[in-house]
């Protein structure tokens, strides 16, 4: 058994770090070399000397933060070497371009799951099962109370929610990258055939997805001075940051909803202040995490992001999996 310092990948200053390659994974502060699993802002920070990601992640990042960053890109499955360590990206099914990262050194395999989901999502590559010795998995929804419905069912619920209130303007709040495009894709396959508007930040990402060959339904970019009658019975996608404050005063006779995995809990739904919550997530649910742990055939598992205590204890007690802990 090795000490924590001897792990190929460990926690350092709150981030995943591979000392042998001197490379960080989704670091929260500027470093020399950063591997980026996907283009969400909580996985990215400005000021690193060099970024490495998939091609899609790089394009999305540049669209969001500008061209002024140095990014090296690789295809899924393409191996590259840093200080003798073999590194490769593999689809994680979270959003377009999102990846798991595999490290191989001295015949030992370390897999970082990144943010992932197993559910079907036509706007990104399906999660790929990768076998490994060590697995570092996220567990944002690592409790058995989280069990996702099929996204088709949620999309139908959303469609019904809109069409049942034809007099109202339906505002659906969702993350502008990933969730919004997935919802658009799903909603366009339901009975709802009305107009869909999206906020500038979402519209930009939609276009980016289209450029990358993803089939996204056309939406109208929402202008501030839209006539209220025009919006009646239509759907508007907005980022959650606009749910509080004066932005909503631009609309009259609205109903609001939030699309997020957390909305499966009634207390959170009530507290959120939205009229309705649609539980749909781009993270794995409890069963999803367990499935990945099992199918990866990892002998050693680490968890991070979320309630890692519970899922670790469960796997140790019930499945006799060797769960390890990073020192903080």
């Amino acid at each position: 058994m090795r000490t924590k310092q001897e792990y190929l990948i460990r926690y350092k200053d709150g981030n995943l770090y591979c000392e042998l390659a001197d490379i960080w994974i989704d670091p929260s502060k500027p470093v020399k070399k950063a591997l980026i699993t996907h283009a969400h802002f909580d996985h990215f920070t400005f000021g690193c000397e060099e970024y490495i990601s998939t091609k899609e992640t790089a394009i999305l990042l540049k669209e969001r933060v500008g061209d002024n960053i140095k990014i090296k890109t690789f295809e899924y499955g393409e191996e590259f070497k840093i200080n003798g360590i073999n590194i490769s990206f593999h689809p994680s099914g979270h959003i377009l371009g999102s990846s798991q990262i595999m490290f191989i050194f001295a015949e030992e395999k370390w897999l970082i799951s990144g943010d992932f989901k197993l559910q079907k999502d036509e706007t990104c590559k399906q999660y790929k099962i990768v076998k490994t010795d060590y697995l570092i998995s996220e567990c944002t929804f690592g409790l058995p109370i989280f069990k996702w419905d099929e996204s088709k069912k949620i999309a139908n619920d959303i469609s019904k929610w809109i069409t049942n209130s034809p007099e109202k303007t339906s505002l659906l709040f969702c993350y502008s990258l990933g969730k919004a495009q997935r919802l658009l894709n799903e909603i366009s396959q339901t009975n709802f055939k009305g107009n869909i508007y999206s906020h500038g930040s979402i519209h930009k990402m939609n276009n980016c997805y289209k450029k990358l060959g993803i089939d996204i339904k056309d939406t109208i970019k929402i202008e501030n001075k839209k006539k209220i009658d025009e919006l009646k019975g239509s759907l508007i996608l907005l980022p959650p940051s606009l749910s509080k404050g004066s932005y909503l005063k631009n609309f009259k006779n609205i109903q609001t909803a939030f699309a997020s995995g957390w909305m499966s809990i009634r207390a959170l739904r009530k507290r959120s202040g939205y009229d309705k919550g649609f539980p749909i997530s781009d993270h794995a649910d409890w069963d999803g995490i367990l499935e990945v742990v099992k199918k990866s055939e990892a002998k050693n598992v680490f968890f991070h992001h979320g309630d890692s205590e519970s899922i670790s204890k469960y796997l140790i007690e019930k499945e006799s999996i060797n769960v390890l802990f990073f020192g903080k």
Binding site: L143, P144, I145, F146, K147, S264, I265, R266, A267, L268, R269, K270, R271, G273, D275, K276, G277, W286, D287, D307, S310, K313, Y314, E317, K318
Partner: protein
Amino acid sequence: MSLNNFSKLFVDLDSSNSTNNKIEYLKNYFLSNDPIDNSWAIYLLTGKINKRFISGRYLKNLFSQIYEYPEWLIDTCYLKVGDSAEVITLLLKNKSTSRKKKLSNISLNELLSKTIPDLSKLNEEEKNFKIKNMWETLPEDNHLIFNKILTGTFRVGVSIGIITKSISKLINIDEEIISHRLMGNYEPSIDSYKLLVNKNINLQELNSKPFPFLLANTIEDKIFKHSINDFQFEWKYDGIRMQLIKRSGNVSLWTRGQELVNESFPELVEKMSHIKDDFVLDGELLVWNFKEQIACDFSLLQKRINRKSPSKSIQIKYPIIFIAYDLLEINGRDIREIKLENRRIELEKYFSKWQNRTANNISDIFKICDLIFPKDWPDAFTYKEKSRENNTEGLIIKKKTSIYSSGRKKGIWWKYKVDPMQLDAVLIYAKGGSGRRAGLYTDYSFALWKEKELIKFASAYSGLTNIEIKELDKWIRKNTIEKFGPVRSLKPEMVFEISFEKIQTSKRHKSGIAVRFPRITKWRKDKKINDADSLENAYELMKNIS
């Protein structure tokens, strides 16, 4: 007609903030379901079923046994969710793959009149089997309703007023009639629903039921522009608001919560039945200090509220009185439409008649409220400030020309409450909330100084805004000294202004005092813990009022 419809209604009601939508949902439900299911729906939605058939703990243990989930894991989930019934519902979703049986299509009536009550007739093993079977055969959408009814935690944001409005709209009859029909012992049956939606108003059927209560609004400044002579002033007692009804010789005591409480106060029922006239009185029930002629503390009344058929010794130890404010009906004549000042004359007239002519002395259990006659508004203020001396909460101000309508009508009655007492205290413990506040630390304990030590003196849950709750929750997580189960002891740093209505000595508390209705009224970020009040300050408050 299936439970599915009711589950759908629950989801609709639960995810709507609009009263009008809720009324529509209810109306549509009533239109498309059987009278018997409708009747049960009303019964459930008005909170009449609050019996706990199975405890949340029992349910969690049972789930843990059947599906081999460790109990600690279920408990961890509970901390996130805050409701046992919902935790089990969410966990069952994860078990849906193990469901093979054909789904049952049970009606709300069958569930509530048979399936659930029958559980109590079974032994533990049979009961467990039955619950498991229900979990496996009920459609997933019904699990939450089933679990919530089992654990006596069924609640949804629908007031009796919304139900009243929806039925009133459904059959196009005045809300007040519907409200009247919904009062009292509404038992679910086809007949009771048919009676409720009967388009013909039958005076006979209304006979034993109370009138809808008229409620007071918080005082508004504009009242001070009116002449003081336009108003009648009464003390605001802190007891149980009630209607005392005698019709065709039968006495009934109805609380504002629409409960018939004859059994708890038999001595009052007995005494009042000797009066020759029939009547409906609006008033307050109190435990009374006859020697000093003032109300006793509410805590003494609590000793009587939930006790049915109290013994003679309890009756003597906690002597009650009914103080009548108003006369609403006399010998079958509804006088709610005549002016308050004239009703008062009637009330006084009948009271003196009853006192003189009733064989049994009624004055040891019944009186009419004394009126107060402030000469101007500043004088009214002085009376209000003195209200603690006679154990009242302030004044009730009633417009003399008002009729007795129902509900919280504006501009008729006002409550002029004495300002709460306040102390600045230090936050020392926090506990996780439940229900809507699950996953947040929302139950707080506060301490006062006793020399150099902080002594806990009150717990409070309410008063902070949602934003403040979140902010404080963050602070709590960062400043925990120790965890004891769900409770955290905290670094003494935060000072809050705590308001409360009453303060009295208590042997049960380490601080030696107990306060009533403590709540947070201000987060004193401007104060350091050394600025907080001491127990001495609290004792001082007590001295000032007694």
